[in-house]
Amino acid sequence: MGRITLDKVRKAFGDIEVIPPLDLTIEDGEFVVFVGPSGCGKSTLLRLIAGLEDVSGGQIRIDREDATNLPPAKRGLAMVFQSYALYPHMSVRKNIAFPMKMAGLPQDEQERRIEGAAKALNLTDYLDRKPGQLSGGQRQRVAIGRAIVREPAAFLFDEPLSNLDAALRVGMRLEISELHKRLATTMIYVTHDQVEAMTMADKIVVLRAGNIEQVGSPLELYNRPRNVFVAGFIGSPKMNLITGAEAAKHNATTIGIRPEHLAISTEGGAWKGEIGVSEHLGSDTFFHVTVEGQVEPLTVRASGEVSLSYGDTVWLTPNEANLHRFDAEGLRIA
């Protein structure tokens, strides 16, 4: 079981309030991703849940029990750190065994769990090596192994993939998702990378300056962002945000349109513009189009076959049904 409830949880370092009072419920077995720009308080929030920081106010409940003042070891949570935090002088086997040794598990049970974790994580051949002799991905897996063997109520990940190269990151992303499906244990995953959030999460929590901007499934966030910040943060490439006269025509302060909801044509359309840089991904091509009367170029997705070059004149037409409208406070209108 791993249902975690945050009730008006607050955190201040001295006079600086990093996390204003915040409510959040994480259901048992859910894969929740905290996402937000660097310095927005994601790690702090995770460390509050882990018990590595004391809350300045509010209550943390784990499985309905008040855990606000429990020491980290008593909360039944396992954490995977960004730096992996492996014990450098212990072999992989000893690293993985460490939490079980501290819990005083019988030797044969320890062996059994180490074997299981090593097999699941492809570490069997490396059990007698020291962490210093492993690659980044392998170290990451050892850190995960050390968390798994404790059979925790929930896993906490703090940007676990940010030290890996791009290809490895995609692989580990899949492995962690698979692990979640297999174990069906609650996982809380912190990242600043919205692609990781979109691909892995059951539920995304978007944070900005310690505030929760929106909570929802990846597609909810993508299709109905609650405000301009979420609209701009979720989705790659970013949503085009347009202010001024065009927005006023739609009775809004800001309107947003995703690159795939803009049609591009060489004959005619709503907005006239000029092609800037184009990014060819093979299947798709993204054109950056400078539209008359707009400061920021708009990003447009077209099929990979469309061939337009720098300086060509084009017309863009937004798909009205997919237009997002935001008011002066940046909140979504209807």
């Binding site: 882990a50 018990g51 590595l52 020491p71 980290p72 070891a73 949570l77 396992a78 954490m79 750190f81 960004q82 730096s83 935090a85 492996l86 014990y87 450098p88 002088h89 212990m90 460490f98 939490p99 501290m102 819990a103 050390r146 404790r150």
Partner: protein, 290 residues
């Protein structure tokens, strides 16, 4: 230093320095060796003659030699134990955030800057003196008999004085090592259910192994040749109770004017120091490999 050419020129460049160092070390060493085979007494100048191993025989069969050997070992080991354990405890303490941390750290390092002669004299006259010393006053205030440290427990007292001098060094090295420990490792261990004492034992102490090795190696070199502290406090006495090898050689060659015997003692000391060095490197040198 990859190519043959660059290795060659590197060797050429450092060779003057190497030759200079070699001469610097070899000339005194060979002169000591040469003197140790001579009957050479300063009271009888011009009477030097070759005597073979006689000097060695006298030195090694002198009962004072075994006492000095034992005292040297006791002094080195005693000071190492006190400074390493004390240094770890102090480092743990100084690593905690507290008010006035900067000033306290400077104060802790201060003893290292006091000259051995001065500190030994201060200890002798102001602390350990059985009449005027602070310890005597404290004992009298408690209604106890003052303890005459330097005559009743001379070696232990010197161990105390030398430890006081070296404790800052050990503390400093161990403190820097402790501060370089990745905090996330400690947090991970905390989440893994390790209470403080186990975090210390399984995480901090192994992390400190390297620094402890450095402290032991460097201190051993200096502790084998402790001299000033003995000279100004006990003069090696009572009897030979606080005479170490260095002091014995000094007595032999300068108090008894026997340069030959002193040189033989010097050679013996060099051999013993090398045996210690080999043992140390075997035992703990592997901690220094990256």
């Amino acid at each position: 230093m990859a190519t043959k050419h660059s290795r060659m020129s590197a060797r050429l460049m450092i060779s003057p320095a190497v030759l200079l160092l070699l001469g610097w070390m070899l000339i005194p060493l060979s002169m000591t060796l040469y003197f140790s085979f001579l009957r050479y007494n300063l009271l009888m100048p011009g009477m030097e003659e070759f005597t073979g191993l006689t000097n060695y025989r006298f030195f090694l069969t002198d009962p004072a030699f075994f006492a000095a050997l034992w005292n040297t070992i006791a002094l080195v080991v005693g000071v190492l134990v006190v400074t390493v354990i004390g240094g770890i405890l102090l480092a743990l303490l100084l690593d905690q955030p507290f008010f006035g941390q900067g000033i306290v750290r400077i104060l802790v390092i201060a003893p290292f800057f006091v000259m051995p002669t001065v500190s030994a004299l201060v200890w002798k006259n102001m602390f350990m003196n059985p009449v005027n010393g602070l310890f005597a006053h404290a004992a009298k205030a408690l209604g106890l008999q003052p303890f005459d440290f330097l005559s009743s427990a001379p070696l232990a007292s010197i161990i105390g004085i030398v430890s006081w001098q070296w404790l800052p060094f050990a503390t400093l090295i161990l403190l820097t090592a402790l501060q370089s420990l990745d905090q996330e490792q400690l947090e991970a261990a905390e989440m893994d259910g390790a209470p403080w004492i186990k975090r210390f034992w399984y995480i901090m102490l192994p992390h400190l192994a390297r620094a402890i090795t450095v402290v032991i190696l460097i201190q051993t070199i200096f502790l084998l040749s402790v001299f000033a502290e003995i000279l100004v406090t006990t003069n090696g006495g009572p009897g030979t109770a606080s005479t170490n090898l260095t002091y014995l050689i000094y007595m032999q060659s300068l108090l008894q004017f026997d340069v030959g015997g002193g040189s033989a003692g010097g050679v013996v000391a060099i051999i013993l120091a090398n045996i210690v060095a080999i043992f140390l490197m075997r035992m703990i040198g592997k901690n220094l490999d990256a």
